[in-house]
């Protein structure tokens, strides 16, 4: 039972990170029907931005309080990552809008390679590590000689994720910006005829997705303490899987999918074998999609005749 609780905590933490990345996939897919394959690498770039910002703050500027440093790192990472994603949209996707469907997809794969190779060249191919931070843990139970622990890091990750999701949900549901996004999702041309600047709305969507990926990137850096130029791929694919599992285009679906993928992975590693954790996650995806092709919370397309 103790093992179960420990894995539950670990799974939710990992799932939060996947969920944050998955939102970027699901929103972009929702609004322009494109799988943004470079999103995983945007996430990877954000881990490096966070790493560099943290180094500068703690080593050079000597910011003492780690929490204040992390707040600044978070903001810096969000700003710079948004800028990266905005630029990518501007140079690689917008000129191809109106072209055939596969064109932006290929362009996205290209951008993904550009980003990971750029980081490999600029930062070197080796793992970059930070000194472990926020190492304190709460011991929740020590019955039977097995400690169930909840670390400060995990609390930070879950709290930040939950808070941002709340803000984000509110923006999409209640603000004119969110309404414009949902309108563009349904009928871009009609939204334009009502005075909505569609291109700008799409840019903002990319920026929002990237900002959340930057949050995920910062949390990832804090949690694992190690980043690498190739780190975009696996979390990216997992987050994409999470978005599909939850129902691509659905925001709560992305978060739910992220949590599920995180939990499946962690529980499988704990009870079965670590080597097959990805196989387990993708098998569940395949099974769910057989029975629910729209994903768990996806809306089926009902055609009214």
């Amino acid at each position: 039972m103790e093992v179960f609780f420990q894995q539950l905590i670990n799974g939710v933490t990992l799932g939060s990170i996947y969920g944050l990345i998955a939102i970027g996939y699901t929103m972009v897919f929702g609004i322009i029907g494109m799988v943004n394959f470079s999103h995983g690498d945007v996430f990877m770039v954000s881990t490096f931005i966070a790493l560099i910002a943290l180094m500068i703050l703690t080593t050079w500027l000597g910011v003492g309080s780690i929490l204040i440093a992390l707040m600044i790192v978070l903001i810096v990472a969000m700003v710079f990552t948004s800028l990266v994603s905005w630029t990518i949209e501007r140079v690689a996707y917008r000129p191809l809008r109106g072209s055939f469907r596969l064109a932006p997809l290929i362009s996205a794969i290209g951008m993904s390679i550009v980003l990971s190779n750029f980081v490999q060249v600029a930062q070197g191919p080796r793992n970059k590590a930070i000194d472990p931070i926020l190492n304190n843990v709460f011991v929740l139970s020590a019955a039977g000689g097995y400690q169930v622990t909840l670390s400060y890091k995990q609390i930070l990750i879950v709290v930040v994720t939950a808070a941002l999701l709340a803000v984000f949900w509110w923006v999409v549901a209640k603000t004119p910006l969110g309404r414009a996004q949902r309108a563009c999702e349904q009928d871009r041309k009609m939204a334009a005829l009502l005075g909505v600047d569609v291109d700008r709305t799409i840019s903002i969507t990319f920026v929002m997705g990237a900002a959340l990926a930057a949050v995920a990137g910062t949390l990832y850096l804090v949690y694992y303490g190690v980043v690498n130029f190739s780190d975009g791929f696996t979390p990216g694919v997992k987050a994409f899987t999470a978005a599909v599992l939850g129902g691509i285009g659905s925001l709560p679906g992305a978060v739910l999918g992220g949590l599920l993928i995180g939990l499946i992975e962690v529980f499988w590693s704990a009870y079965f074998s670590v080597e097959y954790k990805d196989v387990a996650a993708f098998s569940i995806l395949a099974i769910v999609l057989i029975f629910m092709p729209q994903g768990i919370l996806g809306r089926p397309d009902v055609e009214k005749v």
Binding site: V167, W170, V171, K174, T175, P176, L177, G178, R179, A180, R182, A183, Q186, D187, K189, M190, A191, A192, L193, L194, G195, V196, D197, V198, R299, K304
Partner: protein, 277 residues
């Protein structure tokens, strides 16, 4: 006779080799209801699509003149600026509501620009600035006003896709009106409506013109609507204007009768010569 609000000059639209609209010129006057009629395939919807930025015309000029004297060349504006600054709104023959959003939200999307500037790009909205709250309340009031006019007040929170056909049409007009247009273009507003709904529509259109001073440009097949409410009728056939004038005069025009009813084979050449084909 009032001044022209919309002038279409020498408008030509080609799709590859097909000429859908050929050298068309007409005017819609301020405060009037102008109807564009013609048999199927006459190019009416193409004209609308050029006016509202759906298509870029192959040739010609479309000028929108505002009450304060400003003019906009519609064929040069990006599509979203046509609603935003030129103040031209339109509805579609096949309804294009945001069916997954609620009825109220459909009307709020149409007020995107004032809300966006009031909320300082949503940032003010997130911070809960009072100016945004005020703008939002005004937007909802305006939406409520139009819902009341269309008799949809009790459906405000239902998804727009759940409405039946007639109310969806009315909602589309309400949504277009929420952008505060000076010119409202309606593509077959009466299509698919039963005679009773058609009468309600006539009243709504008259109300819009009278109370809001909005000029209307409409495409219509339903002659009862056209003859009943329009001040001025433009008749197209094969992309060419064949008649232009008051409804009663147009109805008596032999070219119009020929275009609608067809003519004997023996008269084809004579009519073609008259029409200029």
């Amino acid at each position: 006779m009032s001044e022209a609000i919309l002038s279409v000059e020498h408008l030509t639209m080609r799709f590859g080799g097909l000429i859908a609209v050929n050298d068309l010129s007409f005017e819609a006057r301020r405060g009037e209801i102008t109807a564009v009629i013609g048999p199927n395939g006459a190019g009416k919807t193409t004209v609308f699509n050029c006016i509202t930025g759906f298509y870029k015309p192959s040739q010609g000029r479309i000028t929108m003149r505002h009450a304060d004297g400003r003019t906009h060349l519609l064929e040069r504006l990006p599509d979203f600026r046509i609603a935003q600054v030129a103040k031209v709104a339109r509805t579609f023959q096949n309804i294009r509501l945001f069916s997954g959003m609620t009825v109220l939200e459909n009307l709020l999307v149409a007020q995107h620009n004032p809300l966006m500037s009031a909320s300082g790009w949503s940032i003010g909205g997130i911070l809960g600035l009072p100016s945004y709250g005020r703008a939002e309340r005004q937007a909802i009031e305006k939406a409520a006003y139009w819902l009341d006019k269309c008799g949809l007040t009790d459906r405000a929170d239902d998804p727009a896709g759940d409405l039946s056909y007639g109310p969806q049409r009315a909602l589309e007009i309400a949504r277009a009106m929420c952008t505060e247009p000076e010119l409202l273009c309606l593509d077959e507003p009466a299509a698919g409506l039963n005679p009773r709904e058609s009468l309600v529509l006539n009243d709504l259109l008259r109300f819009i013109r009278k109370e809001h001073g909005t000029s209307l440009l409409l495409i219509e097949h339903d002659m009862s609507v056209v003859m009943e409410i329009s001040d001025h009728v433009v008749v197209l056939d094969y992309g060419i204007k064949i008649s232009d004038g008051a409804p009663a005069a147009v109805r008596e025009d032999p070219k119009v009768i020929a275009a609608y009813l067809g003519v004997d084979d023996s008269e084809v050449e004579k009519v073609e010569a008259e029409v200029g084909l």
